[in-house]
């Protein structure tokens, strides 16, 4: 039977901010462009971003500029960032913010009617363009409407399970329509992975259920390199209670607007950990501080820290933090204008990802590009709040143009039949349950995976815990081929969907755990109890991962990509930090 097939110059996988921005750019460059999303359009994880978009516009602090933003990003990333990416981001984010406004986005204003900017952890100046605490939604809606009115075909609720290669080149992909289970193939002269992160490998996460690391896994299997996978950002403030909402994000804007952290004894404990920046220290520091307070017995009744805005004017809180006010009132029965919230760390963001060329988003695999959280390098060892929304605009646009330009160099592509057959066999295998075949339930295996990652690869790590976690993950690897959907129906079958996602998450978990074991130091989002200090060697190296052969995941320490013309800026910042 013939499969539904579509042919594009550029195909973008993922409809979060970076995917939409890439599709808009590719279409603008004249490429025939398709956009595939796993869920409905406009539902991607970007809608969850609350605080704002970091761009050195200087509307509130005229002394701000790209050099300071670049330095802040490098300092936040503990100097493991791809320098060129941090540079491009700092330079281009202001234009991308203005562009959004020209496409109809609405942001909060300064008294002189320009885009307002708020303070955020690790940013020297007030820098985050925002609208209340729903900046991500504003961006998604703006980009969504721009996409709909650009020449882009959108495929909603379409799951991609395999990238298809012809020789060395990625030439398309295979998947199925979620509503019917009907198979679908795409050929593309260039393909952009904008599939976001993989927070769902942890039980306590702020991430949407879609964040299952599909892009990391598909790219890895297709031969791309991954970078910085050990650096997982645990956002310091997630809800800790009630159990059903544990992990749900409490925006950093709460602290940006003046929220204070206290332990159960009433102590403002950030004085101990970062007296200079206090609550607005970088996320890695605040997350570790809260974790330490709880571990040492000074936690709140539900095992977190108190985060308090009740000293602020209650109307101001409701205007600046409306979603937080609603969220706590509805879900926890807490009125944040009157009493403190209880918060604790939650898995939030993957600094690491697919290794790309800064300027074009190209991976080392011809025809394959990546952008947004799916790609790595921009954020180094720790991401500053607000830099992801800038990242997805700056590099989404660049990847869209990069892919369109690459597509223009290619005549035509076709999908090798044996690759399609292999992809078909895999999805069919998940459905072909029979008695006595040791079938593994994807829902249960997902839980097991989350437990392993929480136990051994969480916010603090050591050799013993990591080694055990890797052993347990490897034993899962031996069972993953037995994953079977509990139901064999094709239409909107959640277990079937989860089978491939668990496979993806297992790939990602192994990358995170193995890289975490290799990096024998503590830096940014990676904290080793058995190697608590910085190491000079690791301070100059990223860990790059690729697949040598089917079960051979190879990790290679690789020198950080520096840039001569930026050395002075970086050294100046290092000196200033030392002096402080």
């Amino acid at each position: 039977m013939a499969i539904e097939h579509h042919d594009y110059d550029v195909l973008v996988l993922g409809s979060g901010g970076s995917g939409l921005r890439a599709a808009i750019a590719a279409a603008e460059a004249g490429a025939r462009t398709g956009l595939v999303c796993k869920s409905l359009l406009g539902k991607a994880h970007t809608v969850m971003a609350e605080g704002g978009l970091a761009a050195a516009l200087g509307n509130v602090a005229p002394e701000d500029g790209w050099t300071t933003h670049f330095q802040d990003t490098m300092f936040g990333g503990k100097y493991l960032n791809n320098w060129r990416m941090a540079e491009l981001h700092a330079k281009e984010a202001p234009d991308r913010a203005r562009e959004l406004e020209h496409w109809g986005a609405i942001f909060d204003r300064t008294p002189d009617r320009r885009m307002s900017q708020r303070a955020f952890g690790g940013h020297t100046y007030k820098r985050l363009v925002h609208i209340g605490d729903r900046t991500g939604l504003e961006m998604i809606r703006t980009l969504q409407d721009k996409t709909v009115h650009s020449d882009v075909d959108v495929f909603m609720e379409t799951t991609i399970t395999k990238l298809i290669k012809d020789g060395d080149r990625v030439v398309g992909c295979f998947g199925y329509r979620r509503a019917t289970g009907e198979q679908i193939t795409f050929s593309a002269k260039a393909l952009v992975l904008a599939t976001g992160g993989s927070g769902r490998i942890y039980r306590i996460t702020s991430n949407s259920q879609d964040c299952t690391g599909d892009g990391y896994s598909l790219a890895y299997e297709a031969g791309a390199e991954m970078v910085d996978m050990e650096f997982v950002q645990f956002h310091p403030t997630g809800m800790v209670y009630p159990p059903g909402v544990a992990g749900l994000l409490v925006t950093e804007a709460v602290r940006g607007e003046g929220g204070i952290l206290r332990n159960a004894l009433g102590e403002r404990f950030m004085e101990k950990y970062d007296p200079k920046r206090m609550e607005l220290s970088t996320r890695d520091v605040v997350a570790r501080s809260i974790y330490t307070e709880v571990k040492e017995g000074r936690g709140t009744p539900h095992g977190g820290a108190f985060l308090d805005v009740s000293h602020l004017d209650s109307d101001y809180v409701k205007r600046k933090l409306p979603s937080m006010y609603d969220q706590f009132l509805e879900l926890a029965g807490v009125d944040i204008t009157k009493e403190p919230m209880q918060v604790g760390p939650t898995c939030h963001y993957f600094m690491g990802g697919i290794k790309v060329d800064a300027d074009t988003g190209a991976t080392r695999v011809p025809g394959l590009f990546s952008t947004g959280e799916a790609s790595g390098g921009m954020n180094g060892a720790n991401r500053l709040g607000g830099n992801s929304l800038g990242d997805l605009l700056v590099f989404g646009r660049r990847a869209g143009f990069g892919a369109a330009e690459a597509a223009a160099q290619v005549g035509s592509v076709s999908l090798p039949q044996e690759e399609i057959s292999a992809a078909q066999a895999e999805v069919a295998h998940f459905l072909s349950r029979s008695d006595g075949d040791n079938a593994e339930n994807p829902f249960l295996m997902h839980r097991e995976l989350q437990t392993i990652m929480g136990d051994g690869v969480g916010i603090f790590r050591d050799k013993e815990g990591l080694t055990q976690a890797i052993d347990r993950l490897e034993s899962l690897q031996g069972r993953v081929e037995n994953l079977k959907a509990p139901s064999d129906r094709l239409d909107y079958n959640p277990g079937w969907q989860l089978c491939r996602e668990v496979k993806n998450m297992l790939n990602v978990s192994l990358m995170v755990a193995r890289a975490a074991l290799m990096r024998e130091e503590s830096r940014g989002g990676h904290s080793r109890l058995d190697h608590t200090a910085y190491s000079d060697y690791w301070g100059a190296h990223n860990i790059v991962i690729h697949r040598e052969s089917e079960h051979d995941m190879t990790l290679t320490p690789t020198p950080v990509l520096t840039r001569d013309e930026l050395v002075e800026l970086v050294e100046a910042r290092k000196e200033a930090e030392k002096a402080a």
Binding site: L40, D108, D326
Partner: protein, 273 residues
């Protein structure tokens, strides 16, 4: 003082199972945790009792608008509805939205909404933006009060529950004559943008079908973002249609484009469901 969250013990749910050909409410029972929401319960049932239960969800934080359903007969977000806020002495019913075609179980085909959205002319800046007044070195100049006014509509998470409850769509099935509250509100947010240059009046009245709304405010009641859809979006636009289309003097003199806006939107018929 914060409300005490108590475990609800065992709760009964009746979940609608079936497809376009047939279906019925099916009973389930589960042990609840403190603060559990309906989506937690549905996912636990999916995990442990009904692995093929089709349910659409994503953020589980009331921000994406994916998990809309009819809970005890009323459109609600499953992720924002706590079990202990629903009557304890009766089973909780969970059913799919009725205004849209069913895919399976709790999942409906909401693609019509996306086709409607494509019909709406996007934000287009006015041609005569004045330097220093409307724009400064490429930056838009907008007052916070104008931002606040539009911002209410832009809080919309597209859960489509206002569309579901709108009787023009739900009961009269006039999807091919009325855009529904969600898209009236979308047009309102564009129309009230101080720098937008498109006159959407004819679109609102004709393909949009704003005259069909008879202000029962059902949409406003179900909005999880508490947007005053009827009062702040629909009624002001209805008034403008009446003022500009039915004013006897304007009928003689001819209507001038709204607020000096000149660009008419590209228009095509209201999409079929």
């Amino acid at each position: 003082m914060s409300e005490t969250l108590t475990a609800g013990g065992t709760r009964k749910l009746q979940i609608w199972r079936g497809d376009l050909t047939s279906g019925q409410l099916v009973d389930y029972e589960l042990e609840t945790e403190p603060g559990m929401v309906v989506l937690d319960a549905v996912l636990e049932i999916q995990r442990s009792q009904a692995p093929d239960l089709a349910v659409r969800w994503n953020c589980k934080a009331a921000k994406c608008g994916s998990c809309s359903a009819e809970i005890n007969g009323k459109p609600r977000l499953m992720c924002k509805t706590r079990l202990d806020h629903l009557p304890a002495d009766e089973p909780i019913t969970v059913e799919p939205m009725r205004a849209f075609p069913l895919i399976r179980d709790l999942v409906t085909d909401v693609s019509w909404n996306y086709r409607v959205n494509e019909q709406i002319t996007p934000f287009t800046p006015r041609e005569n933006l004045r330097e220093g007044v409307d724009v400064l070195n490429g930056d838009f100049l907008i007052d916070q009060s104008e931002t606040d006014r539009i911002s209410e509509f832009r809080k919309c998470i597209e859960c489509f529950m206002c569309q579901d409850v709108c009787h023009i769509l739900r009961d009269h099935r006039m999807h091919n004559r009325y855009y529904g509250p969600r898209f009236m509100m979308r047009i309102a947010s564009l129309d009230m943008h101080p720098l937008d240059g498109v006159d959407r009046l004819d679109q609102i009245a004709d393909e949009g079908g704003i005259g069909l709304c008879n202000i029962t405010k059902c949409c406003t009641e179900v909005c999880p973002e508490n947007i005053h859809i009827t009062d702040n979006a629909i009624i002001p636009m209805k008034e403008r249609v009446v003022d500009q289309r039915h004013d006897p003097i304007l009928k003689i003199l001819g209507r001038t484009p709204n607020k000096g806006r000149s660009k008419p939107p590209a228009r095509s018929a209201t999409p079929e469901l």
